[in-house]
Amino acid sequence: MKKFDVVVIGGGPAGMAAALGAREKGATVAILERDTRLGGILNQCIHNGFGLHYFGEELTGPEYAKRFRDKVLADSGITVYLEAMVLSFNEQKVVRALSPTEGLLEIQAGAICLAMGCRERSAGAIGLLGTRPAGIYTAGMAQRLSNIDGYLVGKEVVILGSGDIGLIMARRMTSEGAKVKLVAEIMPFSSGLKRNIVQCLNDYNIPLRYSTTVTRVTGKQRLTGVYVAPVDEKMQPILEKEEYIPCDTLLLSVGLIPENDLLSGTGVQMAAVTSGAMVDEYRATSVPGVFSAGNVLHVHDLVDNVSEEAFVAGRAAADFAKGVLPCGDTVAVIPSDGVRYALPQRVHPGEGKVKLYFRVDKVYKGRTVVVTSGGKEIKRKKPLVMAPGEMQNIEIEKSLITGEIKIYTEE
């Protein structure tokens, strides 16, 4: 059986950064990537806006991916298996994968780093009503068809949901000559980045209606139109105000779900809000030697944050494999009052700093974020605006941790 200190599952931005992080610590690394090349979903994100934080310049998705890929491929300490789909891993950290060239592959890992990314919520998951014609796509599927395959899915478009991929696709399809008639968002705010609403919708005069949803679709073979209606406070559509919009395409940008199917039966403790694993500041899960980073852990807004997080996980995984990862008791991080979730969910008291990432539940202007530990305030911060679509962070001193950490907002 092949052996590596760290086995990284997934070769997207998180997987590549985790591998490089593990290499910094001198570990031997294998990346198992199911696609034909490294880079993950970045490969189809041909728009720019990546890397502003991490590289201090604006790159396209493929460019951002290439910077990491070049480093990974140049590093003889990293073995990359392409078209290798991981089927399972067990308590002994034996990872089972299938690939056309290797067949059934079993690898003994010293530590495992999960970096499988996320998937899009489907029409089925939201219970889309009406007929079942061609013409309904998740935004990412339409993005792949246009940017990798070179084919456009339709000409008259309605987009349900204002997630970032939906916003990006509104602009992309417009530039291909399609007419985007409406972006409907069921919430009173967008789950996407402000800059995407400005650059992808406003700049092209594409209307965005909040508190509005698609109530049903029509068409036998191909979509012929959608009904939209405003929703009340309980998110129920007000059907008397239903309105018909003829279109041949409905794109769904209604949420991303961490792809943690591999974890069923492994005992890794999951967090209900994020649909990812519960982790400490090293991104260690509840199962020793299993780490998680990137969109498989929680859905990020910026790839820069993914890379940063995955470096942390990769370094820690290498330390674990060498038996030098700090361990000991942790304190819980409990979000409340406007903070939807905070990550990591557990922190070790001690030396150094730790960044708490969090998301708020609605748009807040001039509201303060407070962090307490053992009942004492240890940090506060007053951002101008906080929106659910944009991940926030706040850094705390670990030496100030004296007990349970609470993170919340206040006036």
């Binding site: 056309p100 998937r119 599927m141 068809l145 899915v153 036998k220």
Partner: protein, 481 residues
């Protein structure tokens, strides 16, 4: 004009069952299907239940073919490699429902079906999640679940292996009696037949009208369903029905043969012109939610991966399975609603025998089996290793949710009845049927279809004509990466 001994109209589970049984005889046989694949009507979207047979009125065709058909399923599905499990069924009743259960049991006894009325304690052993109000149930241990479209497809495949011809996208538009048989005209061609079998499902009355046979009033129904993620599979073990009412067998909760959980159906009447409608309605889904709550309240509706609607067509209260009196070599199958799926294999044998007798057909010396297919998630490590060594395509996973390899998709495309649409592949190998509903694999399946059929990606369809998925090329200047 092509000449056939027997032409079957309609490629549903009944039509393909007839075709399969007929393919055991020395005869030139043809099946005409108007859609782009078999199993495109009622056979595509139904509950997938192999009914034990207690529900049908004793003495009816429904009772006869149900009981006979159900007994055929274990061997048939094994031979065809179709997912089937004898999971048993419960009709769950609240306090006061005992007389109704006893009535059902009496019917079961008359039909020769093994059933038993069990107490709440016994129900809990079978269904730990049963609703708190349920006190008694009629348990039918021999009820089962099957994949209705896979059965239809496998029947079609085996018929083709045994020499049958299937023509897709050929709707019969004219049918007339000739001197020594029949002349059938479709949108694409003309055929003669010595014997014609009308298994056109929702269109059967229309086909009858073409030749001048009586065209009875049909009642068309639509039922809404939920499919849950396979991770919810443990919530229910048997097929759990409420007490049946005038509308039908009611909203059930059960496992599917492929390992998901199915909830539904409702029963909405629609006019004939909307007989093939597949519209999912808000009211329908609400009714299913309500119904399910009473039976198995633990069902997690947050794990829904698909909602859809299926159709069914009834004519009166019983199946019409009879040779025409006016046209002796014309056989009619009308109103094959529930338990039509269960009855189909028995109906197939019966009708094929009737045609064979009428034409004096003899049985072939050999009835060829359907070669076994490789399925990654049903194979041992040794089998997988060997298969990937033979052909690396079996090591390339395309559908990550259902673990379907490129090799399996190629097998579907190269089937006896080839799959040439995304939906046809989905129904054969489950690519796109998992929790992401094709989010990742659909473009990949399209790429494989485009390559294998040697057509541009823009003409790859979801199903029937007009369902192209990505019909336009992006602007000039695009280069293949």
């Amino acid at each position: 004009m092509e000449k056939f001994d027997v032409v079957v109209i309609g490629g549903g589970v009944v039509g393909t069952a007839v075709l399969r049984s007929l393919s055991a005889y020395n005869a030139k046989i043809l099946l005409l299907e108007k859609s782009s694949d078999v199993a495109s009507g009622a056979s595509r979207a139904n509950s997938g239940i192999v009914h034990a047979g207690y529900d049908a009125e004793p003495g009816t065709k429904k009772a006869y073919f149900n009981v006979k058909g159900a007994a055929m399923f274990p061997a048939l599905t094994k031979a065809l490699g179709v997912p089937y499990r004898m999971v048993g069924s419960l009709v769950a009743a609240k306090e006061g429902g005992l007389p109704a259960l006893q009535e059902l049991k009496a019917r079961g006894d008359a039909n020769g079906v093994k059933t038993e009325i069990i107490s709440r304690e016994e129900i809990l052993r079978l269904e730990p999640n049963i609703g708190p109000e349920i006190t008694y149930a009629l348990y039918a241990p021999e009820a089962g679940v099957v994949s209705p479209y896979k059965l239809t497809i496998a029947q079609a495949d085996q018929a083709v292996v045994n020499g049958a011809t299937i023509r897709l996208e050929e709707k019969v538009v004219a049918l007339q009696k000739s001197k020594d048989g029949f002349i059938l005209r479709t949108e694409k061609g003309e055929y003669t037949a010595s014997y014609v079998i009308n298994a056109a499902g929702a269109g059967a009355s229309e086909v009858n009208a073409l030749i001048g046979e009586y065209a009875p009033m049909e009642t068309h129904g639509v039922g809404d369903y939920f499919i849950l993620d396979s991770k919810e599979a443990g919530v229910v073990n048997t097929v759990v029905f409420p007490l049946p009412d005038e509308k039908g067998k009611g909203i059930l909760v059960g496992p599917t043969a492929d390992g998901n959980v199915i909830l539904g159906p409702t029963s909405r009447k629609v006019p004939h012109e909307r007989a093939e409608e597949n519209e999912v309605t808000r009211e329908g889904l609400d009714l299913v939610r309500e119904g399910v709550k009473r039976l198995i309240p633990a069902v997690n509706l947050r794990s829904v991966i698909r909602v859809y609607a299926g159709t069914r067509t009834a004519v009166g209260s019983d199946f019409i399975i009879e040779q025409s009196a006016r046209f002796p070599h014309y056989f009619m199958l009308l109103g094959i609603c529930s338990p039509g799926l269960t009855s189909a294999p028995a109906i197939g044998e019966y009708v094929a025998a009737a045609a064979a007798e009428a034409l004096g057909l003899t049985k072939k010396k050999e009835f060829l089996p359907l070669p076994a297919r490789f399925h990654l998630n049903k194979s041992s490590d040794e089998e997988i290793k060997q298969k990937v060594a033979e052909d690396p395509a079996y090591g390339r996973i395309v559908c990550r949710c259902e673990k379907v390899t490129e090799g399996e998709i190629l097998d579907a495309i190269r089937s006896p009845l080839p799959a040439h649409t995304v939906d046809a592949i989905k129904r054969r190998v489950r690519a796109g049927m998992g929790r992401c509903q094709g989010g990742f694999c659909r473009p990949r399946v399209m790429e494989i279809l485009s390559r294998e059929l040697n057509v541009p990606l823009s003409s790859v369809r979801m199903g029937d004509k007009g369902s192209e998925i990505a019909p336009y090329e992006v602007k000039e200047g695009y280069e293949k990466v």
